[in-house]
Symmetry: C2
Subunit: 144 residues, 2 copies
DNA sequence: CTGATTAAGGATATCTTCATCCTTTTCTAT
DNA sequence: ATAGAAAAGGATGAAGATATCCTTAATCAG
């Protein structure tokens, strides 16, 4: 609803990679798509996108796979969402107007800026590490 | 982003009908689609949906057209959105999980319930009349 | 070096959303 | 009654998102 299917899988992938991360470990496509419950070939394409956006590293061949690019950097959900879906959810007018701002507001601009600002701040302030910890502790899940 | 194109046009239509409403007056398809800047045949289909959902009335033939069904009832944006897009934006898990609740939360459930509740309350508490007044006063717009 | 393994890349298929077109029905005015 | 106007309904088309398949490239183990 908020995000494209592609973005949903991307977020789950990043959380899973973070939750499973340890030095030198790589996770393969099969492993990832089975654990986040996503179609394998489609997930392959998304992993490529994440590589191109420098969010993850990939290595081919036996014992190849994917891993978080910079495990020590603080990564937010917003970085994943903007990489995959762009910043439309934060920036675009909900009524589809090209020009919509405080100066030239659409009919519902004032009502929605607050919601979008709220969404933006949640996305920016939610770290992948934090939610990955929830998954590691089995308090939160990525499937079902 | 939040809403489908269909829903965007539906919201604009309802606001325009409300802004232009007066006793016995009807607005035609051409009038509506030109004022909300939407494709005419597509808008025709959306108007049919709004009629079926009892949000507007229609009359065929010369001097026919569309008008708000119950001009005195308090109508919220939420009623339009749920009629057209359903309640997915309020109810569905942002990670696409079938079961996602406080008891069985997805990895980002806690972060997003607050945003969705916020969105739901804005939608429920924003009346079409209020935003239509803004359009009538030329403080807010439906196009450009 | 060879074969096996795994990701990358390109082409293609499917499904949904967005959009148009044409015919039919209903209504009004004459 | 009839002609014109306007919405309703059904069929179809276009575009984008979602998903798959197949070939190529890289890497590793032996």
């Amino acid at each position: 609803m908020f995000f494209s299917k592609t973005c949903e899988y991307a977020i789950k992938t990043m959380i899973y990679l973070k939750a499973e991360h340890r030095e030198g470990k790589r996770l393969g496509l099969k492993d990832i798509s089975s654990h986040i419950n996503s179609p394998e070939p489609f997930t392959a394409k998304i992993l490529q996108q994440l590589v191109r956006h420098d969010l993850i590293d990939s290595v081919r061949g036996p014992h190849g796979g994917f891993s978080i690019k910079d495990p020590n950097a603080q990564l937010s959900l917003l970085q994943i969402v903007t990489a995959i879906d762009g910043d439309g959810i934060i920036r675009k007018c909900v009524l589809g107007l090209d020009e919509c701002s405080a100066e030239h507001p659409c009919a519902v601009h004032d009502e929605f800026v607050v919601v979008r600002d709220h969404l933006a701040s949640i996305l920016a302030n939610t770290s992948v590490k934090t939610v990955a910890d929830g998954v590691k502790n089995h308090r939160k899940v990525l499937t079902r």
